[in-house]
Symmetry: C2
Subunit: 257 residues, 2 copies
Amino acid sequence: MCELLAMSANVPTDICFSFSGLLQRGGRTGPHKDGWGITFYERNGCRTFKDPQPSFNSPIAHLVQDYPIQSCAVVSHIRQANRSKVALENTHPFTRELWGRNWTYAHNGQLKGYRQFKTGTFRPVGQTDSEYAFCWLLHQLSVKYPRTPSHWAAIFRYIAQLADQLRQKGVFNMLLSDGRFVMAYCSNNLCWITCRAPFGKATLLDQDVEIDFQQQTTPDDVVTVIATQPLTTNETWNKIAPGEFALFHFGERLVLG
Amino acid sequence: MCELLAMSANVPTDICFSFSGLLQRGGRTGPHKDGWGITFYERNGCRTFKDPQPSFNSPIAHLVQDYPIQSCAVVSHIRQANRSKVALENTHPFTRELWGRNWTYAHNGQLKGYRQFKTGTFRPVGQTDSEYAFCWLLHQLSVKYPRTPSHWAAIFRYIAQLADQLRQKGVFNMLLSDGRFVMAYCSNNLCWITCRAPFGKATLLDQDVEIDFQQQTTPDDVVTVIATQPLTTNETWNKIAPGEFALFHFGERLVLG
């Protein structure tokens, strides 16, 4: 199993708070020691830091902790290799362009019998079931919407339908973002919490650290964090039901009619 | 004008040597202060570090200097913004998947009248002429070779023909790699040098630093460095003629018949 983490915010926010808890679990307090990655969006651009090394002793992970990167959308993943070899090309998140935007994806779970799905011109670079499923998703989207679509609710409903098909092949917890929207599709473990200014103190699960959001933010800030398991103990997290998804747009949850 | 740097090697090699010279020019001794990026290949995977900040004071650039990443193919770029805004999505190198491989590209120069070229399903994310040209190149390649091609000499000859068309629109110095091949197409400024073990000492152009390659390498090592201008003063660099290209495969130059 892998650990997923995402953030959606209405102002550029530093995710170091939550990421440091995840790093602790990447090899020290959890079994997730085979690579990690994190993608930060900055407007339409994004940058990914990834390392096939365990996260808790990775120099790049510590840079990410020490050097605050302000972002409105973040997707992160810590991987325990299942079947595919530990290699950079198998390390999440994966980013591909569609409709002139960078789409970033991370998957937790295992799929079987997925190769009957055709990926078209989106060819996997690595060997993971995860990247294969991502390529299939993008291919299906590009076939249904060859031109850049404008009706976003329809797109995410369609993505959820595609995710339903993948869930029939195994466990498929997914994070997906284009830098504006962050979608979390749940197969068995995904939860989220929306924090609004004024923020209270939050206690990290893996370290005796408290971070006071109020020092970092303005009165209108909204920050949503999505994770495999709750990262904090003093707040109530919302669990996403199996086969359902939650969609966020700059921090706010969108409920599709 | 921007600075280009690439490396091609037959064993995973640490590029810090050459990159530190480039960093010095990124804002301190040269006018290139509007962002930089570097892509390291590790087998089929690659990772990119990029920053819209000037390179000489970028924490990420210093991480890249301090933390050796062993790679057989590297592409790097320091940008001075011409017309497009300084933003992450306009920062080179650009990486896209084609034929199940990651293709990484960096451009130096300016193009005009290039929007008559159609980019098909490879849509630019940012606003640069550079990324636009890259999308057009990939689109042309995907049209000519819808299936993964096997005849690499023909592919790179075709890429050179496409680059010739782009050069008619302005200045087009290009670096392109899929992790195995590194291609350098010259419009006005690109040169290369191939170093073979045993390596002599090399002096960086911008710092009083000598690095002894012999401490880092084995007797069969071959390392080629490609750069806008020679990075060292005590070695003879080969200048690529305008409209010509040099192609390298794990350090060795390939001369196409």
